[in-house]
């Protein structure tokens, strides 16, 4: 049974969970420093971002094309793809590498110097995640509007 509308659900779920883990890790590192628990969380964070990519790849490559055509066919919604999706899909790779760096820093450092680097990367992950989520919301809303306009 196909759950129409849930195609991008796992991608969003893993991404939001990754942001929550990043926020939790940020708080723990800020308060107690880099501990064995934050190292585990850093690894979980990286895995969640990778799962977010793996789960959306087939949807983006093979299914989004239909929505893309409808979004682009309306001048009112075309920017959601040409600016929103184009930026989101490519900036995501910078975020993927950044998330991969988190456990490398967490497991590779001790003390204050590594703590500051880890905090900076976690802040970037959270802020970047919020920005990409905003692009996603724009695309989702524009797709609904585009289909509604097409339906007349």
């Amino acid at each position: 049974m196909a759950y129409v509308g849930m195609e991008s659900g796992p991608h969003v779920f893993f991404a939001l969970l990754a942001m929550l883990v990043a926020a939790l890790t940020l708080g723990m590192v800020y308060r107690n420093g880099n501990t064995s628990r934050t190292r585990q969380l850093a690894l979980i964070l990286a895995i969640l971002v990778w799962l977010s990519w793996i789960s959306i790849a087939p949807v983006y490559m093979y299914e989004y094309g239909t929505d893309k055509a409808v979004i682009k066919s309306n001048p009112e919604t075309a920017a959601a793809h040409s600016i929103g999706m184009e930026t989101k899909e490519h900036v995501f790779y910078t975020g993927l590498i950044l998330a991969t760096l988190v456990p490398m820093i967490a497991y590779g450092t001790n003390g204050e110097s590594g703590r500051r680097l880890l905090l900076a990367v976690l802040v970037l992950i959270i802020v970047g995640g919020i920005i990409l989520d905003a692009y996603g919301a724009w695309i989702q809303t524009s797709a609904k509007i585009a289909y509604a306009l097409r339906g007349g």
Partner: protein, 99 residues
């Protein structure tokens, strides 16, 4: 282990900038776009795989060349490098599609 941090941070910076440049090149050069699509079945998947490979290669290279100590000043430089890489990458990609 700190060599991994140095390697990873530099690897991230290079991969992030490479990612941005590849976007501009791919979107303005049909040959590059088509090559990625042909080799990797989709240009976007191809871009991701190439960026990951750049990250891995640069990380391994810097790892093998760096010293094992992570000093305070080096850590500050790495923090600035990572933040600059992330911001530049976003600004180049977002700016390209916005303008």
């Amino acid at each position: 282990m700190s060599r991994l941090v140095v390697g990873g941070s530099v690897g991230f910076f290079v991969a992030a900038i490479f990612n941005s440049i590849l976007v501009v090149v791919k979107e303005t050069n049909e040959g590059v776009h088509d090559w990625l699509a042909q080799v990797f079945t989709h240009h976007w998947l191809g871009q991701g795989i190439v960026v990951i490979l750049v990250f891995l290669v640069v990380t391994a290279l810097v790892y093998s060349l760096s010293k094992p100590e992570l000093s305070e000043s080096l850590s500050n430089k790495l923090t600035a490098t990572v933040v600059a890489g992330a911001l530049l990458s976003y600004l180049i990609i977002a700016g390209f599609f916005l303008l």
